[in-house]
Symmetry: C3
Subunit: 209 residues, 3 copies
Amino acid sequence: MLLTILYIIGITAEGMSGALAAGRHKMDLFGVIFIAIVSAIGGGSIRDVLFGHYPLTWVENPYYIIIICFGAILTTRIPSIMGRLEALFLFLDALGLVLFSIIGAEIARNMGYGFVLIVISAVITGVFGGVLRDIFCNRIPLVFQKELYAGVAMLVASLYYVLIEYLGIESYIATFIALVCGVILRLLAIYYKMGLPVFNYEDKQKNKD
Amino acid sequence: MLLTILYIIGITAEGMSGALAAGRHKMDLFGVIFIAIVSAIGGGSIRDVLFGHYPLTWVENPYYIIIICFGAILTTRIPSIMGRLEALFLFLDALGLVLFSIIGAEIARNMGYGFVLIVISAVITGVFGGVLRDIFCNRIPLVFQKELYAGVAMLVASLYYVLIEYLGIESYIATFIALVCGVILRLLAIYYKMGLPVFNYEDKQKNKD
Amino acid sequence: MLLTILYIIGITAEGMSGALAAGRHKMDLFGVIFIAIVSAIGGGSIRDVLFGHYPLTWVENPYYIIIICFGAILTTRIPSIMGRLEALFLFLDALGLVLFSIIGAEIARNMGYGFVLIVISAVITGVFGGVLRDIFCNRIPLVFQKELYAGVAMLVASLYYVLIEYLGIESYIATFIALVCGVILRLLAIYYKMGLPVFNYEDKQKNKD
């Protein structure tokens, strides 16, 4: 129950962030709504398609789409307020990332997958909404170049896995612990601008690109 | 039967438009054929994958792919003629958009989905061929920035739904009415340059993009 | 058995090439690993999703992902060595392309598909890893503009089909013949810069793009 509420907060926040990104690229209302939907539920959809895990979440609960649409339309009405709530959105985005990652890990675990697929499922669920958003906005996905983002998804999934499989902790308690640790880690990563090492490879082919 | 003929005209027209777009980006013959195929059947394929609706149309009828290939190759032979037929292609593109939207709505309805998913299915089927074409051509999808396009798909799906579910009209008559109304609406949208409101959000992050 | 070894060599080589491409776009470690995975197994994943062929190869054998990750991380450590091995990588890339194409053709054949779908499956499996890599690196896919690449996939699939269906040759012998011919053809195409004709279409819309 609490998870459902958190999930709805998460997709709404991701959707509204997506709507702002669409606004930065001067999209029309359809573009805004589309980018919002993709940002919010794109990661989970890709995960479900890759794992053959049907029906998709939003096909089962189409009202999630409605909620995201309302959030996106709201965003176009009050962009100046959105801008001032930057800190809140950074927090909600962190919450969304961590929560989606845990959900991804849980679904993979329920499908009987092992550690590697659980981590992959967490990363896809947590990160791919943003990747798709950036692809549709025609830019290199930020998560490939920015501070610890996918890394948080991996660590959260690993923590969740260890808590349940090795320490025998109940699923909902493990979810809670992973959620709190993950959000703190993500906020620390933003604050200290922690990031993965960047691989800058320049060669003669560079000129051809 | 008439629908199948219209469908083939629709995918051929969308494919030829896609081939022209590929030509504008100086692609080789494979690129031209690929963009043509994606433009013509990409929307329906994404819909089927998201809904787990197997087998996909072109897997069941691979000769659709052959037809699109011929159209694409033909386009590379007579580009100057294509340019002069602009009005015809605008009409065929409108026909394709509306027809694909109705097909999408019908498939979702036959799968037992409600109104929201029927509209989503119509939009994906009608619009996503063009979205994929633009992604592969490395530009922001035109439908996110242009005159009423996705909006037509939504209105057509809504009309189709109301005609069948509330007015109890036969499916093939509803298809016909929605088709005629949709094409007229789309042509009017082009003529009067009607569009959805554009959301232009500029902030300090703009510089970072 | 030999095929499995060749397959692992193929995905590792494609993954390392992908990692270099990511390095050219200054991605962080996650971006490098992601692009490497997508380059190596993206084509096969798209094929399986489109054909509803579950579970995907890497879901069944997650250790393939681990191997690709190691290759990608290795690449970031020794980029200068990679640069000097260009000839080796061109060969491995040719091997990967041809091998993936044959695997794609074989899977489609085992699903009972006819010639058209077998060729499509070969092209998707052989070429789409590179297409996805370029999409995520935000550039027009090279295979749409470069020397004979998709063409090799088509010819290899056709040869494989003819050898088995018309000449009644054993599957593993047909695989071997198609593999050798394909690699030679691809290397000749690189050497002689053979390519498909380019379709360069300029019109007044060009300015609008």
